[in-house]
Each structure stands twice: as structure tokens, then as C-alpha cells.
């Protein structure tokens, strides 16, 4: 269980994370979504006691991370797969962690095997690893202490499609056995396949959170017409809240019936009218976080 309570981090006047609160329950996978620079990594570092928050607090398993006596046995953390000593072998990285946590060093080989790093790869130095291999090593590092909670920052980065599919299975299985997973991503598609809950962050603030299905249902109706401009006018005239997509369609926060009725009254020819499911969530994600990604370059 992870509880994040009004976490705030400011660097000078610049707020990186502003009043972020959410909970991750055992047995669930929580997707932490947001564009680059939205504050995902800073939030995760604050949860793990690596970045002191300006205000607010976070607990893991009911305790602040820094009060956990042996955190590696409670929480598996992967914050940056590239943050490993380039001169150590993959096996040595895990052996050092195993000794630190007091885990039987025989688990090292078993965990390497679990993440698909063969003995030849394990003997090589991290310098020679591809990003995908570093992610696998990082995941092995997180799983080594047999934790009940996983905190993973962009774990799918650099993995090939097969690797992403494998990782989803692994995380789903971990959660189904009662574990708690928090994983971040800037790619909606990557997260919606595995997450039960979503926390969407933009510009340092939580802009939406809830069950995945609930957020999907709330996404509204996708509508497309032969004449998009007329449709826009019609929707505006009918007082329906519509957001233009990139491909000429609109996501409307209303029932399909209401949208169809408005179009029929105006005599418009619709080419598509359906409940906006995943596409709608993508629209939601784009609109909710619009503008926040441009702030990153300033940071």
C-alpha cells in the first residue's frame, strides 16, 4: 500500500509537484501518467525518501519510506535503469544489493533468470548493456528482495514489444498475488493495458484519477462528420462541451444520443458516432496535460 498525501516540491519559485495525493491499494496496478516533466519522477523520488518534499508526506506499508528498516524487502524500486555503475557486471550489481538487504545470494541467479538475462549477459559489464537490458536488470534489482510493493519509473522504456508484453504479465501477476504496483509512463497505451487505476498528472498537479474503466466511461462520445466545421458550430449551439481531436473528430462530454440528436436537428451527415473508449482516454490525456509538456524545457 502506498499513500501519497498532499506532496509538494518547489525548486525556488518553480513548483515541480503541487499538492499531489493518491493511494495505491494491494492487489492493484496504478498507472502514473503524464507527459515528460509533469512531476512523475519527482513524486516517486519523494515517495522513496530520495527527494525531501517541500510539503506533504508519503507512506509505504503505513510507514514513511525512510523509517523502513530494510526497504528493499518491502518495496522494489526502479527509478532509473541507467543509474548503475558502468564498470560492474549485471550479476555483481545484484550481488551487492543482495548482500545489502541480507537476501540469500542464490536468489541473484534466480532473479536474473526471471527477468530474462542469461548467464552470458549477467557476466557482462553494465556499460555494454542496451537500455532494454538495463531495464531488465533494474527490474531484477527491484524484485530481488521479494517485496510487496513495486515502484517503477518508466519501466517499459527501451523494451521491445515482446519485452513490454512480458513485463505486463509479470506486473499483473505480482498484483494478482496481492502486491501493490505503481508504475509511471508518458505513454497511455503502455499503461492502460495493465493498470487498474490511473493517476494522471500534468504540470505537477493531479488532473484526473480513478479506476481505468471509470475514466474510460467518463471520456464521452467520439463524433465525426463530413463537415467538421458545421459539426463544431452545431455542438457549440447545442451547448455540448466538445474537444477537437487531431484527426477531425470531436470528443464530446455527453451521451451519444444527445450528440446524434443535435446532429440530426442540424441535418448533418455523421461518419462516426460512438462511445469514446480508449481513443477518448487518449483525448482526455492530451487535453488534460496540454501545455504542461512545454514547461519542461524551461525547467
Amino acid at each position: 500500500m502506498i499513500e501519497v498525501d498532499h506532496l509538494t516540491k518547489r525548486y525556488g519559485p518553480h513548483p515541480a509537484v503541487e499538492d499531489v495525493s493518491f493511494r495505491c491499494e494491494p492487489g492493484t496496478v496504478t498507472g502514473f501518467l503524464g507527459p515528460n516533466g509533469a512531476g512523475k519522477s519527482t513524486t516517486m523520488r519523494m515517495i522513496c525518501g530520495l527527494t525531501p518534499p517541500t510539503a506533504g508526506s508519503a507512506t509505504v506499508g503505513g510507514r514513511p519510506y525512510r523509517r523502513l528498516p530494510n526497504p528493499g524487502r518491502e518495496v522494489g524500486v526502479l527509478l532509473d535503469a541507467s543509474a548503475q555503475h558502468a564498470g560492474r557486471t549485471g550479476r555483481e550489481v545484484l550481488a551487492v544489493a543482495a548482500r545489502t538487504m541480507g537476501v540469500d545470494t542464490r536468489r541473484v541467479a534466480a532473479t536474473l533468470d526471471l527477468v530474462g538475462l542469461n548467464p552470458a549477459a549477467a557476466r557482462r559489464r553494465v556499460r555494454a548493456y542496451s537500455l532494454g537490458m538495463r531495464q531488465r536488470l533494474g527490474l531484477a534489482h527491484a524484485l530481488l528482495g521479494d517485496p510487496r510493493v513495486l515502484i517503477l519509473d518508466e519501466p517499459a522504456n527501451g523494451l521491445d514489444p515482446e519485452g513490454i508484453f512480458w513485463m505486463r504479465g509479470l506486473l499483473r501477476d505480482f498484483a494478482d498475488r496481492g502486491g501493490t504496483v505503481l508504475l509511471s509512463s508518458h505513454l497511455l497505451r503502455e499503461v492502460e493495458a495493465v493498470a487498474d487505476r490511473l493517476v494522471v498528472i500534468g504540470g505537477g498537479r493531479v488532473v484526473a484519477q480513478g479506476g481505468r474503466d471509470e475514466l474510460l466511461a467518463g471520456a464521452g462520445t467520439l463524433v465525426r462528420a463530413r463537415d467538421p466545421q458545421a459539426l463544431r458550430l452545431t455542438l457549440d449551439r447545442a451547448g455540448l462541451d466538445a474537444t477537437a481531436g487531431t484527426d477531425g473528430g470531436f470528443v464530446v462530454r455527453a451521451e451519444a444520443g444527445a450528440v446524434g440528436q443535435a446532429a440530426a436537428d442540424a441535418g448533418l451527415v455523421l461518419t462516426e458516432l460512438r462511445s469514446a473508449d480508449t481513443g477518448g482516454l487518449e483525448q482526455l490525456f492530451l487535453t488534460l496535460t496540454a501545455g504542461s509538456s512545454t514547461k519542461e524545457s524551461v525547467k
Partner: protein, 263 residues
Amino acid sequence: MSTDTTAPPAPAVPVRPADRAPTLARLTEVELRKLVDTRAGRWLLITIGAIAAVIVTVQLFVVADEQQTFTDFFTPSLLPVALLLPVVGILSITAEWSQRTALTTYALVPRRERVVVAKLAAVVLAALASVLVSLAVAAVGTLLAGATGATGSWQFEWSLLLHAAVLQVVNVLMGAAFGLLLLNTPLAVVSYLLLPTVWTILASMVTALRGPARWLDTSATMEPLFGPDVTAGQWGRMAVSWLVWVAVPVAAGLLRTLRREVS
């Protein structure tokens, strides 16, 4: 006879025996391992040993026979260690930041002061081990000298051993202190290695600095440690220089490490 069949309620959060914090001994063992498990660390240590061996070899060929004694081999073998082992101390601290392993190290051990103490303990053990290596190198040199017809005298003042241990331990701690304060490899290495030179240059140019230099220039205050006799006044001056160049930077660096954001 009544039997209580109800099992005691399971604790809400089962405490596993492995949930105890790692001991300082174990953290020190891990830090010792980290000194040698990279190519850079291993070769730095091998180089230090090799230079000590080369010095003894050169002595066997060029120095007069009556000066080929155990003591004469032992003292110069301390020099490469005194110069380079502190770099191992610096790297032990700064590599965590330059290689960004601090992210995993301090996630596994959030009480960062324990990691720092373990690192200091590890480099002190390395310094003590280096004295044993110096003894071994000097012994081999003496045996060879005896075999080749030189004096090969085993005469040795045991106070030298203590002084050598103090010298190496303080030097490596001073290196670690610089690393801890600056948290940056090149900056720490350069300032550590340049400091004695800077003192020499400054003291030769500014007469007013010559007095303080006798108390603050570690290369001057620790000079007596290469010999068997150290006076109380010399110990006093040494202690002052250690306070300024070891104790203060360790304290400030520890504070900096505890507060620093790891990213």
C-alpha cells in the same frame, strides 16, 4: 482438560526476520566489495601495490648495500600508498554520485549516515591492509637483499609500524573527507592532490603564512610519521591539521550528503 483451539490472531503486518536493518558490519563488507568489484577500483589498488614493489626493486639495484635494510625498504613503500590510496577513498564516496548509484544505494539504505560510516570504515580497513602489504614488500626486499650479499638487516622500530598505520589511515580519511565535501570526483581528486603544493607555494610567497602552515599543512605536520620518533608538539600540530582537513570536511560533507537530493 480444556484446550484453547483458537489460534492467536495473525499480526496485521507480519514482521519477517529479514526486515531488520542491515548491520554496520554488513554495510562495511558491501563497501569493501565495492572497492574492488569494478575494473577501475581493482586496477587502482593493483597499481599502488605494483609501484611499491617497483620502488623496492629499484632500491635493490641502486642503493648502497648497507642501506638495504627492512626499515629502508618499508618507509619508501609507504609513499605510493599515501599518495594514491586517498584517491580510492575519494572514489568510494564520489562514484556513487558520478555513476548515479546513489539512487539505488540510498533507496536500499535510507539512513545515509550509515552508508557513509560504512564507507569510512571500509577505506580505513583498506589503509590498514596497505600497511601489511608494505610490510610484506619490505620483507621480500630484505630477503632478496640478504640473498644478493647486502646487509639485509631486519632491525625495525615498532613505533614505525604505528606511525605508518596512522599515516595511511589519516590520509585515506582525508581523501574520503574531500570526496564527501565536494561530492565530485575530478574536483575532489585535484584539490586533494594539489593542496600540499598550494601550501608550499603560498608559504614561500607569503611570509605571514609560514607560521600557520606549520600547523595546517598536512604534508608538513605528518612528515614525522615517516620516522620512528614523534614529539608531543608534533602530535599536537598533526591533530590541529587533522581537525581542519579531516574532521571539519567529514562533518560538513556528512551534512551535505544527508540533505542532498538524490536524482
